[in-house]
């Protein structure tokens, strides 16, 4: 889960690190947003930071696990037919059967194969997560960077708008909006969840854009005569890559939880096959009391797993950006015990 402070740069300090660290006796903490990635030419940093990120992912345990889970769920969402051979909505099997070789997780009260449902149910969730993640990040970026760059009255208005939306409780608002819709499809869910979530990361992005506004390389671009639009797109945004990635992950995570919750209380479309709707039906049919615990346990675990994927990746990025948060290596191997 991203920290609330608008920090988080993409990488540790460069070759100057040890010298600076030796000076103050502290690790070279890149606490200024984007501080670790400040090359002179803004445009190149996008590619460089991407390379640094992939290297960082491989070296961090949490990131690897998160990435693996994410890839797994994406594959399941893309090719459900390869793994599950039954039609998830077909109510043709015996009702409430226990797990067996034919039905790995048993069947629902309506005679549907639970395993098939779990596998096919991944697609809507992954779609919503990625859809909201991207859409909310784009909106947050546009609003946040515009507010920071335009400044003055524009900044005031945009910031106020963002703050008000931020403070209104998201889930109740979501419930109210959904209640007027009577059965939201996946696309509508994406739109609605995005509307409620973008303000959170917009604030962070604005803070970082503000701190970048006065950097030298932007001043150089202005002096060169580049237009504002160019500066925003080519210079500022690539430097904010790490925060944008964090924003995507955060929004995707909340999308998973929010949409599942909405579906659980029946505000999604109960006829689609998704983890959230599975839980809705399971609860309606009192799955616990009738001994169909798996119907509830498995979809929930999947939600936790997908959510954990995003959350772990986010946490790992926090650590990468702020070296102070990384696990501390003990000095036991090299430390002198007692002097003469």
């Amino acid at each position: 889960m991203a920290t609330l402070a608008p920090g988080g740069s993409g990488g540790p300090g460069g070759p100057g690190g040890p010298g600076g660290a030796a000076q103050s006796g502290q690790p070279a903490t890149a606490l200024t947003p984007g501080g670790g990635l400040m090359p002179q030419a803004g445009g190149i940093s996008g590619a460089r930071s991407l390379r640094r990120m992939t290297r960082a992912i491989r070296s961090n345990g949490k990131a690897t696990v998160g990435m693996a889970l994410l890839v797994l769920f994406c594959l399941v969402a893309l090719f459900p037919g390869v793994i599950a051979h039954d039609d998830p909505s077909a109510e043709i099997y015996g009702r409430a059967l226990a797990p067996s070789a034919r039905h790995l997780l048993g069947t629902t009260a309506f005679g549907q194969d639970i395993f098939a449902q779990v596998i096919y149910g991944a697609r809507p969730v992954v779609l919503i997560a990625i859809g909201v993640g991207l859409l909310a990040t784009v909106i947050a970026m546009l609003v946040g960077v515009a507010a920071a760059y335009l400044g003055g009255a524009w900044d005031g208005v945009l910031s106020l708008f963002t703050d008000v939306l931020l403070v209104i409780p998201a889930f109740p608002l979501l419930i109210v909006i959904a209640s007027y819709l009577h059965g939201a499809s996946t696309a509508v869910l994406i739109a609605v969840v995005t509307a409620v979530s973008w303000s959170y990361t917009a604030r962070q992005l604005r803070a970082q854009a503000l701190s970048l506004r006065n950097r030298d390389f932007l001043e150089a671009a202005r002096v060169r005569g580049e237009r504002s639009f160019y500066i925003i797109v080519v210079e500022i945004i690539p430097t904010m890559t790490s925060l944008l990635v964090a924003s995507f992950l955060t929004n995707a995570l909340y999308a998973v939880l929010f949409s599942s919750s909405l579906q659980f209380i029946g505000l999604g479309n109960p006829n689609t096959v998704s983890w959230g709707t599975m839980l809705y039906w399971a609860e309606n049919e009192e799955a616990f009391q009738t001994g169909q615990a798996l119907w509830i346990i498995v979809p929930g675990l999947c939600i936790v797993a997908l959510g954990a994927a995003f959350a772990l990746l986010n946490y790992a990025f926090d650590e990468i950006g702020n070296p102070a948060l990384r696990p501390v290596r003990s000095m036991r191997g090299k430390r002198v015990k007692r002097a003469r």
């Binding site: 998201a170 839980l279 346990i297 936790v304």
Partner: protein, 327 residues
């Protein structure tokens, strides 16, 4: 002082935005079934309630602008109309007031507890870094934060309610008992509150732990903490007085922002446990198409969150001497 006033102004603005949202939504939804449903139930409303509902939802004969101002006026005088379907004919205000104490008790107490415990664990976890625990615990906390509130509730019901029969998991108290300030009743209430409270505690504590831990780690790298060591101060004093006191400040702001999510979680938990608080009422209203009730509850929840944020802002102003002079 000016700081507090500015915040108050912001909150009034936010409340107004929520009100306007409430007003706009039914009118924006194309072919809204809401209006049809309301029109169906008009008959059961008393004349005063009818006027309120007409202004709220745009049925009837006034134009939009005068409806808006009537609506604002109604809210300002706490006239929310009557429930359409949940308890037909009963004033919305009445229904809401009945539910508030239950939610306040459950969510209020549990949130404070989770905040205190979570912050404490976060402080200690940051202070004692470098052990083997340190590389396992944070990922565990992270996973704790993504567990869906409602699902954990269901699992706990399965384990403690259905399988072990240790704790009750429906309603706020055993309906065969009559409410009263006696030990038996209160004990029963507490018994019913344990599982929901525990669920809320586990799902929310992770966030407090992680944010406190993160700010604490950053604070521990500060020069004044090193100075405190140099002065030979005892470890506990450094951890609390120098590090934690400073690390707390950004967390109080974070507390405010996270409240929105806590509220959302509470709604789901009340639903799962049939715990008759504000959240359960909201979802019942939604499921019953009881729009007047739903709107009032939404406003109430928003107002409550705003009040909590204001309180934490005041707390920050008190604890951080730097904000006092500057404003």
């Amino acid at each position: 002082m000016r700081f507090v006033l500015r915040r108050l102004g912001f909150f009034v603005l936010t409340l107004w935005a929520a009100l306007t949202l409430n007003f706009a939504l039914p009118r924006l939804m194309p072919g809204s079934p809401a209006l049809a449903i309301i029109a169906n139930h008009r008959g059961s409303l008393s004349p005063q309630a009818l006027k309120v509902v007409e202004a709220q939802f745009g049925i009837g004969h006034q134009n939009v602008v005068s409806q808006y101002f009537s609506y604002l006026g109604n809210v300002a005088t706490f006239r929310f109309g009557e429930s359409l379907t949940t308890q037909p004919g009963v004033s919305v205000g009445h229904i809401v007031l009945d539910a508030i104490p239950w939610t306040l008790g459950l969510v209020g107490v549990t949130t404070v507890l989770a905040f205190i415990l979570g912050t404490g664990i976060g402080i200690v976890s940051a202070w004692r870094r470098g052990g083997r625990l340190d590389s396992i615990m944070p990922p565990i906390f992270v996973i704790m934060t993504v567990i869906p509130y409602f699902w954990l509730g269901l699992i706990l019901i399965l384990i403690f309610g259905v399988k072990l029969h240790w704790l009750p998991y429906f309603f706020t108290y055993n309906i065969t008992l009559t409410p009263g300030f006696n030990l038996a009743f209160i004990g029963n209430v507490l018994q019913h509150a344990i599982l929901p409270a525990f669920t809320l505690l586990i799902t929310t504590i992770g966030t407090w732990i992680l944010t406190m831990r993160n700010t604490m780690i950053t604070t521990l790298a500060e020069d004044y903490v090193r100075m405190a060591r140099a002065k030979g101060l005892p470890g506990r004093r450094i951890m609390l007085d120098y590090a934690a006191r400073n690390a707390m400040l950004p967390n109080l702001t974070g507390f405010a922002m996270s409240l929105g999510f806590v509220v959302g979680g509470a709604i789901l938990i009340e639903y799962v446990f049939n715990y008759e608080g504000v959240g359960y009422l909201l979802l019942s209203a939604v499921n019953n198409d009881d729009y007047p009730l739903e709107q009032a509850l939404f406003l109430l929840i928003t107002a409550a969150v705003l009040v909590a944020i204001l309180l934490s802002d005041i707390a920050t102003a008190i604890l951080d001497p730097r904000t006092r002079g500057a404003r």
